[in-house]
């Protein structure tokens, strides 16, 4: 008796496939159809958000550890790249990869300390991570440039700005594709199932033989690596780093907001969230101009999501589709004790015939 989850093409999946192809087509064509360089730069910002929240979702989505501190990892990636270029003399993209690897390496001790505690304590630690890195990068002025910021030299000197945007748009798009691919691979693997077990009940997962700490650490490092890459790429694109904005809790919380809005259990959840929130942020900015009402709008949006769509947009859409699809009946059948007794006997024979 095939159940819903085993049917190959469900309406949800079909819709997802169509949406994915459409998104890819639009994304690839965007630099050519964007009416002006400004909108292209908005596209880059949105893609950057998408990469960041997808990276965040390696930890948040699989293990359920909500980190408000991923902004720090992005900031480290950005500063790492910048410092390797300016002080280390590395070529831009070499510096980017080295910096992301360094962030990943640094994520091992950070994760080692932070992942020992769960729930609220983890959130606090993650917030502390941002504040600590902010303090360090502000105070250690001789190395980092302090509050005055750091200027990252252009990877393509002399390139005019519109062209520069175009190149980076594709770079971000490629990075997003890789991050999504890795997430998808983990999601369908046994490793992924183990991570999800951690999200549900860590002790139980441990008792079932899952090396929970190692699993968490590995996925944290993977997440840090992608976050570092996103931060570094942003640094190369943007050029000016300021500790206040690189190490901001707001960055981390945007990642959470986006992932949550789209749906953390969903491959494309963070991407959808980034599209919605990124575009909304730009819209608020244009709409409310010079007032801080964009903060209010962000807050209200987050609150609405938490209150009314805690599982995100995609699952909400999914259940809507399922309700529309009359052919699928409820996955729970009801059986009386008598039927159960009969079924047990049948089931036993079934099992035996298979073993035999």
């Amino acid at each position: 008796m095939p159940s819903v989850s085993e049917r190959l093409v469900t309406p949800g999946r079909a819709a997802g496939g169509v949406a994915l192809v459409a998104f890819a087509a639009v994304a690839l064509a965007y630099p050519s159809i964007a009416p002006n360089p400004y909108l292209l730069s908005v596209g880059i910002v949105v893609l950057n958000y998408a990469v960041l929240s997808t990276s965040w979702n390696f930890v948040g989505g699989f293990t359920g550890y909500i980190s408000l501190g991923h902004g720090a990892l992005a900031g480290l990636g950005a500063y790492g790249t910048g410092l390797l270029v300016t002080k280390g003399g590395l070529p831009s993209f070499g510096a980017l990869v080295v910096a992301a690897l360094l962030v990943a390496a640094l994520a091992v001790p950070i994760g080692y300390a932070a992942l020992r505690v769960r729930g609220a304590s983890f959130v606090i630690v993650s917030i502390a991570l941002v504040l600590v890195t902010l303090l360090v990068f502000q105070s250690w002025a001789s190395f980092t440039g302090g509050s005055r910021g750091l200027n990252v030299p252009r990877p393509f000197p002399g390139m005019l700005r519109p062209e520069h945007h175009r190149v980076f748009f594709y770079l971000f798009l490629a990075l997003l594709a890789v991050a999504l691919l890795v997430w998808w691979l983990i999601d369908r693997s046994r490793f992924g199932l183990g991570l999800k077990a951690i999200r549900e009940d860590e002790d139980k997962a441990e008792a079932l033989g899952t090396p929970t700490f190692a699993y968490k650490l590995v996925v944290f490092v993977v997440s840090a690596f992608f976050t570092g890459l996103a931060g570094g790429l942003y640094a190369l694109w943007f050029g000016d780093l300021d500790p206040i904005f690189q190490f901001s809790i707001l960055t981390g919380s945007y990642m959470v907001l986006m992932a949550l809005l789209g749906g953390v259990r969903n491959l494309f959840g963070p991407l959808v969230g980034a599209l919605v929130v990124g575009v909304a942020l730009e819209y608020f900015k244009v709409e409310f101009g010079n007032t801080p009402l964009h903060l209010v709008a962000t807050g209200v949006l987050l609150a609405l999501v938490v209150l009314f769509m805690p599982d995100g947009v995609l699952p909400a859409l999914g259940s809507l589709l399922r309700r529309l699809d009359r052919t699928t009946d409820s996955s729970i059948r009801e059986v009386t004790a008598a039927e159960l007794a009969a079924q047990r006997i049948g089931g036993e024979q079934h099992a035996q015939s298979r073993n035999g």
Binding site: G64, I66, L68, A113, R116, V117, R118, G119, A120, S121, V123, I124, V125, I127, A128, L131, V132, L135, V136, Q138, S139, I249, S253, V256, L257, L260, T291, P292, L293, H294, L295, V296, A297, T298, G299, V300, L301, L302, A303, V306, L307, P310
Partner: protein
């Protein structure tokens, strides 16, 4: 080597600062340890209270301390509403996580509205006694800091007594630990949880007023406070009011003394170092917290 005068002056400043931290952390402790809600917006409410104190001083000309007559009940009511209308809607299973995000949203909304109404400009109450001070064995104690310290001490003590000695305190703890069972012994859990939250916010009103006496305020200032306060309640032991108070005093003093050699910025890292050490060595906190490791 710092001079003796500087050391003594720093000790005094540290103690005064610690008192303020203690008050500000107390409310957080309440939601966090007892209600399992991570209240990111606490410091945003602090700043809000500080703004109200500032506003009533500049616009109405009343002493900021007097503004508490309005802000304390107002914040209590706001807390009850916040709990009943928003937090109560969260699913119990994901309460801890989702409350982080929800209160984060509230914090951002408050920050945005403060910015909208009062602009992002830094504000400071200009008090007649703003730069007055008393002398103590060669050191100086600013009058405003002393008042803030006194407020903190009184508010903390009252809070402790309410939680330990009243039926309300019991009912609150029972409600949080097993809501259905609490309802079944006859506790009006909705009301109790609402009042608990109101109480926490009322401390924010007092803390904010104390803060406004001697600091510059601006809408995004709450980020500056949230880190040290979170660190304090973890070090003190989640849910323990005396623990928070002790940790606040110790860390405030440490910060003040470290500033002599390290400067203001590096000295702030003491909070985070203490936080990491605590989680590594004694996750339930150093001064209290019984089953806190469960969080």
């Amino acid at each position: 080597m710092p001079s003796g005068a500087l050391l003594f002056q720093s000790v005094i400043l540290g103690l005064l600062l610690g008192g303020l931290y203690a008050l500000l952390a107390a409310g957080l402790t309440l939601y966090f340890g007892i209600m399992r809600v991570v209240m990111i917006a606490h410091s945003a409410f602090l700043i809000l209270a500080a703004y109200l104190a500032w506003w009533s001083h500049t616009e109405l000309g009343v002493d900021p301390l007097l503004s508490m007559v309005v802000t304390v009940p107002l914040f209590f009511a706001a807390g009850v509403l916040l709990q009943r209308l928003l937090l109560a809607r969260l699913r119990p299973v994901t309460l801890t996580m989702m409350s982080v995000l929800l209160t984060f949203a509230i914090a951002v909304v408050i920050e945005g509205l403060l910015g909208y109404v009062f602009s992002g400009t830094q504000r400071r109450i200009q008090l007649g006694y703003g730069s007055a001070s008393l002398e103590l064995f060669g050191a100086r104690i600013a009058v405003v800091k002393l008042i803030a310290f006194g407020l903190a001490a009184v508010a903390l003590l009252s809070l402790y007594l309410v939680m330990k000695k009243t039926a309300f305190g019991w009912a609150l703890r029972a409600t949080i630990q097993h809501r259905d069972a609490a309802r079944l012994v006859g506790i009006d859990t909705d009301r109790v949880a609402g009042f608990g939250f109101g109480l926490g916010l009322a401390t924010a009103a007092i803390g904010g007023t104390a803060l406004s006496l001697d600091t510059t305020i601006y809408p995004s200032l709450h980020w500056h406070w949230i880190g040290p306060l979170m660190a304090i309640i973890v070090v003190g032991g989640l849910g323990s009011v005396p623990g928070a108070a002790a940790a606040a005093m110790v860390l405030g003093l440490a910060q003040s003394l470290l500033q002599i050699e390290l400067g203001t910025t590096w000295a702030q890292t003491v909070f985070y170092i203490a936080l990491f050490l605590t989680l590594a060595v004694r996750p339930q906190g150093f001064f209290g917290g019984r089953l806190a490791q469960r969080f």
